[in-house]
Amino acid sequence: MLEIRNLAKSFGGVKATNDVSLDFPDGSLTAVIGPNGAGKSTFFNLITGALKPDSGKVLLDGVDLAGRSPPEIVRHGIGRAFQVASIFKSLTVQETMLGAVSADQRTSAVLHKRFPLHETRDRAEQVMELLGLAGKRNRTAATLSHGDQKLLDIALALVLEPKVLLLDEPTAGMGPEERWRMIDKVRELWESQKITVVFIEHDMDIVFKIAPKIVVLCYGRILATGTPDEIRNNSAVIEAYLGTEHAGAAA
């Protein structure tokens, strides 16, 4: 279980994350929404070690990870994918996967053997098949389509076999149809891999359709948490963010 306790981070005078406490039970699927500048990405950056929190705790199965380095946090089981696909542009899909498994198995500093190591193959193969990248294994990452690059980014996080997977806008920059395909994939991964998934998403239709639980951030604070129905009818959320359109649809 991932527990966030009183997490806070300021940039100058701006409180980007302001006393946030949340629980993400094992195997849960949660969407994080909020207007631009609500502190969604900062929240992810604090959990994954890209930023050091000013105060608060990030407890994964009771171990406090707040303020530790990204490699340490990854090794404890929190993986992430990025808003803009963060990949290795000159490596092929297969090399990328094999390299990531090597890192996870702590063989990334091995000098006397040839890449790839035998024991890295099965996992790399599984995840490539899971995300439908196996047919593009020999393509250089830079030549993949935008959607495939996002999938590769997620595959990079997934191949480390994380307990918690944080996805920063998996559908960013995609057309409507591609969005649904991607989000179906995310939901499928969540169901098949039995991991905790937290994702940031802007498209309300998507969020309300697939997320059993929603967290709304606004100016670094939690505005509301709850099921899609609870969020739709929450007056604070409607005022700050949704407008009346979705509220009307729910009514």
Binding site: F88, K89, G99, R114, F115, P116
Partner: protein, 339 residues
């Protein structure tokens, strides 16, 4: 075995044996290259040609080691020549002052280089691009001025004079020109083979990941700082080896070996040959030395000619010679498959 597993085993098997095959292929190529180089004295008595190969060995080791930093890790060092100079001076001084057998001096020099590189690397590899380049350059100047000002120990601007003693060991007499030639070739081939292994190891791929996207690498659990420091030290060792070959060749060591222009030449070589292939710097070495030797014979303004050549590669081709060939070959194969 389920059907799925069996299918997976089928797709994986060729990849597996491929990795092992590549290793044998590299060793085979190295053996052939060594055999060809080592038998050269049987066909020619030209001392100039053998000298040329010895210089190629020294510079080739040095330039290829820089490519481990520049091409594989994305660390552009402007001070890599300090380890070339350090190798030459340490080796020369140990031989002159202590009179130990050559292999002992060789190992001791590598140990000294590793130590110095670890200290300098620990300071430098945290820095980003241009700062890394500048600070490595600053350390190079520091070592150069130490050599100049500590004249009682290093001979100052005169260099290590009086020759480096080259006592025979294990039947190898490096004072003999042919022996020195074969030993240089052996060091070159062994060094290249070791660097090739580094480049194709899991660590080599970790370096490529860091070059492409260091932040992402750290989110995979890779300790970026440690990996950069490791390759910085490893590259320094091979540069130092190049320096030792040079010291043996000229039987001395001179401040120019540690001056920043030597780093510049290595960067020049990498630009000429290209950094996207393993052998690019080796091709660049041969090109530069050939250019140097021929151009200086015809004009005293050889700097201008070299400058024009580098401009041609940097602005005209926008890549090194071997990059160009590799791309052309890949393109041809692709269009060939398309048909």
């Amino acid at each position: 075995m389920t059907e799925l597993e069996a299918g997976r085993a089928r797709t994986l098997a060729p990849v597996q044996s491929g990795a092992a095959l590549h290793r044998y292929r590299d060793v085979l190529i190295a053996l052939i290259a060594f055999a060809v180089l080592a038998s050269l004295p049987l066909f020619t008595s030209s001392k100039a040609l053998l000298d040329f190969v010895i210089r190629c060995s020294a510079y080739g080791l040095f330039a290829t080691s820089l490519n481990l930093l520049v091409g594989y890790t994305g660390l552009t060092s402007f001070g890599h020549g300090m380890f070339f100079g350090l190798g030459a001076y340490s080796f020369g001084l140990i031989m002159q002052k202590l009179g130990v057998p050559i292999p002992v001096a060789f190992i001791a020099t590598l140990a000294i280089t590793a130590l110095v590189a670890a200290v300098i690397g620990a300071i430098c590899v945290r820095l980003k691009e241009i700062y890394f380049a500048f600070v490595t350059l600053a350390f190079q100047m520091l070592i150069h001025s130490t050599i100049l000002s500590w004249a009682s120990f290093t001979g100052g601007d005169q260099g290590l004079r009086g020759g480096i003693p080259r006592p025979a060991f294990l039947g190898i007499n490096l004072a003999n020109h042919i022996h020195l030639y074969v030993a240089s070739c052996a060091l070159l081939i062994l060094g290249l083979l070791a660097m090739r292994q580094i480049a194709q190891s899991p660590f080599g791929y970790t370096l490529r990941m860091i070059r492409d996207n260091a932040a992402r690498a750290s989110f995979l659990g890779i300790d970026v700082w440690r990996a950069k420091l490791t390759v910085f030290v490893l590259a320094a060792l091979f540069a130092s080896m190049g320096g030792m070959v040079m010291a043996l060749f000229v039987s001395g060591a001179y401040p120019e070996f540690a001056y920043w222009t030597i780093s510049g030449e290595a960067i020049f070589i990498n630009m000429l040959g290209g950094v996207s292939t393993f052998l690019g710097p080796m091709v660049g070495t041969v090109l530069l030395l050939l250019l140097n030797d021929t151009v200086t014979r015809f004009t005293e303004y050889h700097g201008i000619v070299l400058g024009i050549v580098i401009l041609f590669f940097a602005l005209g081709l926008r890549k090194g010679l071997l990059d160009f060939v590799a791309e052309w070959y890949a393109h041809r194969r692709e269009t060939g498959e398309g048909r």
